[in-house]
């Protein structure tokens, strides 16, 4: 059946993508929280935060982008949960298809939906004065890191999507992720934080990812942050994938 893996995954991805394009509200909802945060931080709090010579919108955009992804993947979990709940997941599993294609379709759809939301948020940031002189390779690096982060969080979202017992449960895991950027270098420099909070902020994944993207946008050397960021993303991806596959195997028996 693996001979049909590509064909089946494409067919199933077409289906899940239609779920996204026919409920545009999910993309708007994904983008609206980060955009509101961006407006509030730039026009309300931003003036009081000292970020040196960097404009505040430039400073906080990387954190906002991560927040967009974190809120986007809760819909990935929701879509998968709905499939399991409605029984269509079982219908596909009882058909002569590449069974894992059902899961991959959701993963690819998650990447596409998040990409649309990211472009939307980026557009608003440009209107608000975000500017970057970054070259093509720096932009590609930013895109690559965001894609890797989305992929890691998508596989994380597969776990509640397959095993949650309620819609609320399927989406709730994303809330801590959405708020993780607050305790990082995303909105304020970590040096202003008290000891233990600062230690946490400097050692959690968001800070290294935010610092890397910020440096890439500002055409500054990324230093060791990029390796820490990549290690976090790949590590999270591997762990999430292993647990997601375990949940999947339990589901299909």
């Amino acid at each position: 059946m693996t001979a049909y893996f590509f064909n089946d995954t494409v067919a199933l991805t077409g289906r899940t993508l239609r779920h996204v394009t026919r409920s545009v509200d999910t993309i708007i909802t994904t983008a609206i929280t980060p955009v509101a945060m961006m407006l509030m931080f730039v026009y309300v709090f931003g003036g009081a935060i000292d970020t040196g010579s960097v404009s505040y919108v430039n400073y906080m955009l990387p954190g906002i982008l991560l927040m967009t992804i974190a809120s986007g993947i809760s819909y990935t979990a929701y879509r998968l949960f709905t499939d399991v709940q409605s029984g269509i997941f079982e219908r596909f599993q009882s058909m002569p298809i590449a069974r894992s294609g059902v899961l991959w379709a959701h993963v690819v759809t998650s990447l596409v939906a998040n990409l649309i939301s990211l472009v939307l948020v980026m557009g608003v940031a440009l209107l608000m004065g975000f500017r970057s002189g970054a070259g093509v390779s720096a932009w590609l690096a930013v895109a690559g890191i965001l894609l890797l982060f989305t992929l890691a969080l998508t596989w994380l979202a597969v776990i509640p999507g397959l095993s949650a017992s309620s819609v609320e449960g399927a989406g709730a895991f994303a809330y801590p992720l959405i708020f993780l950027p607050f305790v990082s270098s995303a909105f304020v420099p970590t040096r202003t934080m008290p000891g233990p909070v600062r230690w946490f902020a400097e050692h959690q994944p968001v800070t290294s990812i935010v610092n890397t993207i910020r440096a890439l946008f500002a055409q500054q050397p990324v230093g060791d942050d990029i390796w820490t960021a990549l290690a976090w993303c790949v590590g999270l991806l591997v762990v999430a994938y292993v647990f997601a596959m375990a949940a999947y195997r339990r589901k299909i028996a």
Partner: protein
Amino acid sequence: MKAPSIAGPAIRVQGLKKSYGKREVLSGVDFDVAPGSIFALLGSNGAGKTTTVRILATLLKADAGTASVNGFDVATRPANVRESISLTGQFAAVDEILSGRENLALVARLRHLKDPGAIADDLLRRFSLSEAGARRVSTYSGGMRRRLDIAMSLIGDSPVVFLDEPTAGLDPEARIEVWNAVKELAGCGTTVLLTTQYLDEAEQLADRIAILHQGRIIVNGTLAELKQLFPPAKVEYVEKQPTLEEIFLAVIGGDDKSDATGTTTGGRR
């Protein structure tokens, strides 16, 4: 792609056992289903009907015993089993966001058939869904959904079809529509395993009926055989009152379905 039908029983279940934790749902189930027949698995809620179907559809592993579908063991040849079956009813479903036509075309594509669009249009016609074909399934009535569900199961001409409580939650009119669809299916030589908790449904449709009770098959036979097991029929003269179902169908006028009216006027087989 299509698995050819084989000689011998289309479905063979022997000593099937399944427990969820300490609760034993199936405690040694045995039955055979002859090719091209309609077999009804009758039982109350929680009797283990769905568990049996899920094991046969390779969605669940049995704890003990063997089961084969179309000659393939469900445990060792699950891919061949999936090529031989279609699952619909309680645990199968339709995509609410897609249109009826898109649902059918998707299944045709997943079964790697040529011209999925034409297959979809043909089935929409056969199941009187042509007009609704372009609409999202979320706007369909319960009966239309179930008809679409069954239509999706016909794609690829699987030799064995599982219908898990196909008429649960349907109104009488929709129930008759589903019955007609099932009869049409069996008429084409498909083996149908039907689970139901409605006695009249088993009586209407099935060639053989097995009663699943507390994890075991306690009775298995044709309707005529089942009737012989029990006290002989007494001849009584009773004025024939129409049932509420017959009144309901007569009042709302089910004339648009010739078969349906046939049933309402008492033409049961």
